[in-house]
């Protein structure tokens, strides 16, 4: 392990009078906005990331997650608002990578540089002892290929090398942008364990994803964004409660057209999830059974679904995304015609 005691300087400053509050914030984002020309990538975003917990930063592709994380790290300048670590901007931190470790998409390595030389150049630049190079390579499982040139690395190996770069300074805050990309199932499992371990050390972890299902077993809290705006910040437990109360019916039928025509006359929301399958929101078998019989619709399958977390996530972000179906995380989506409206 590192010969250096963990530095708590950045986040420690927050507790006034030396009295630690129970969950001090490691990261505060306040009214953060970013415009790229006419495009409002992030708008009035406010959330906090507490120490010792894993916060999932969730939203569909193109919802402003990456821009937000890059603003946090001083790579993208904010149009308005602040993003701070214990009250200080990233650019104002001394040796920032000793406090904040980041794994970002579209970061790259010089292809002819060896993995350990990449890490050494970062360590030297940030005044980190070179012994950490070996340690972090070992930690991410790359010690056997440290002497290999990065140009020969697979996507998963590059992702691990990025993680090693983030960990070099033994930071107390980790920011990970879609870190599971390129990892195989074992790699993803390893990443989950690793993230939980970091939180158990009291570190704050902010990890983005466009899939809640990928994060369900990892995160404590969720910050859900869509179209650059905050949809919800809550705990995973709270989100699960919402999921439990949301019910729906999954129906497989050879007569999709007749069923949708029949549904048009009743006030329910539905969406088609496959060629022969519909999901009807907030419906019960007690209502749908007689309804199908009345319209004489053949059914192959009738499933009463308790909503999953993913469904809650989709429905939360769906409303924001209705104008732009291309941004949907997955599945064809369509709201039912207005009840009683024209068919």
């Amino acid at each position: 392990m590192s010969g250096r005691p963990p530095t708590r300087g950045v986040t420690g400053e927050r507790s006034p009078g030396g009295v630690p509050s129970c969950m001090p914030s490691a990261i505060e984002v306040h009214a953060l906005s970013k415009r790229f020309g006419p495009v409002r990538a992030v708008e009035q975003l406010t959330f906090e990331v507490p120490e010792g917990r894993v916060t999932g930063f969730l939203g569909p592709n193109g919802s402003g997650k990456t821009t937000t994380l890059r603003m946090l790290l001083g790579l993208v300048s904010a149009t308005a608002g602040t993003a701070t670590f214990g009250g200080r901007r990233y650019v104002d931190l001394e040796h920032p990578i000793r406090h904040v470790g980041a794994v970002l998409e579209a970061t790259s390595f010089h292809p002819s540089r060896r993995a350990e030389d990449h890490l050494k150049s970062v360590a030297i630049g940030a005044g980190i002892p070179l012994s950490r190079v070996e340690e972090t390579l070992d930690l991410v499982g790359l010690s056997d290929v440290g002497r290999r040139r990065v140009g020969k690395f697979s996507l998963g190996m590059r992702q691990r090398l990025q993680l090693a770069t983030a960990l070099l300074g033994d930071p107390e805050i980790l920011i990970l942008d879609e870190p599971a990309n390129g990892l195989d199932p074992q790699g993803i499992q390893w990443l989950r364990t690793f993230i939980r371990y970091q939180a158990s050390l009291g570190h704050a972890v902010l990890v983005s994803s466009h899939l809640l299902s990928e994060m369900e077993e990892t995160v404590d809290d969720v910050v859900i964004v869509s179209h650059g705006q905050l949809v919800l910040q809550t705990t995973l437990a709270e989100l699960a409660t919402r999921a439990g109360t949301s019910t729906g019916m999954r129906i497989r039928t050879p007569e999709v057209a007749r069923l949708t025509a029949a549904l048009a006359a009743v006030p329910v929301a539905w969406r088609q999830v496959a060629a022969d399958t519909l999901v009807i929101d907030a419906a019960t078998p007690e209502w749908f059974g007689p309804f199908a019989a009345q319209h004489q619709i053949v059914l192959y399958e009738l499933v009463h679904e308790r909503g999953s977390l993913e469904d809650v996530f989709l429905s939360l972000t769906h409303g924001f995304d209705a104008a732009d179906p291309a941004n949907m995380g997955g599945g064809q989506a369509g709201h039912a015609p207005m009840p009683g409206g024209p068919t």
Binding site: R70, L75, I97, F109, I124, G125
Partner: protein
Amino acid sequence: MIAAIRSEWLKLRTTAVPWVLVGIALLINALLILVIFLSHDNGTSGPGGGGAFVSPGYTVPHTTQQLRNLVGSGFQGYILALLLGVLCITTEFRHKTVTTSFLVMPHRPRFVGGKLIFAAIAGAVLAVIMLVATVVGGGLTLAARGGSFSDMIHQLPAVAPGMILVFALFAILGVGIGSVLTNQVAALIVCLGWFIILEGILVQLVHSAEKWVPTGAATAAANLTRGRGSDFGLFNWWQGTLLMLAYGLVFAAVGSIILTRRDIT
């Protein structure tokens, strides 16, 4: 700043760039030395002929000016120092390693400053390498042809400091240009286009521009220890040095402002 310079050195030497540049530099240097000896041959010896046995007065450099030309035969390598400076910064953008560099050092003018100091040192080292190669290669050839090796060495103090200074100044200019034009290909085309074609045309058209263009300023700076004042209508050495430095630093300042405003996405 020491840490930044050590980090830059590691970054540079773990790519092919410095080794290719040094290789090209030595190759060109060898050719130029060859040209110097052939041009003093006065046509009295053919290839494979008995050149070494012809009267030394005609076949080998022996006047002060000839010996200085021999010692400084690698001077044109300043263009490689310029490329070294350009590559030092544009490679970061080409391979997107700049994201990591900015995470390590988020203050972007400081990032450019580190590159400037590092490139100046690297440029000076390139000059030293070329001087050593010239003294060894040119000196051996000279001695083999009956010339005086020690006479050549005596000209080293007059030539070497100016050459080292000029190489450092061109490397600084390279970083400055690279910080403005971060696209590697664009930066290289602009540099080569200016120094190989446009600058010459400009001087032909406007003679008074000669002392003001980078090559004119650098040539003036090269007179550091030659004990000469301004010649050929150029500035004296310190004026030339300041002008070259100004070119490099103005570009670097503009580049720092552009980079500070730039979003790395």
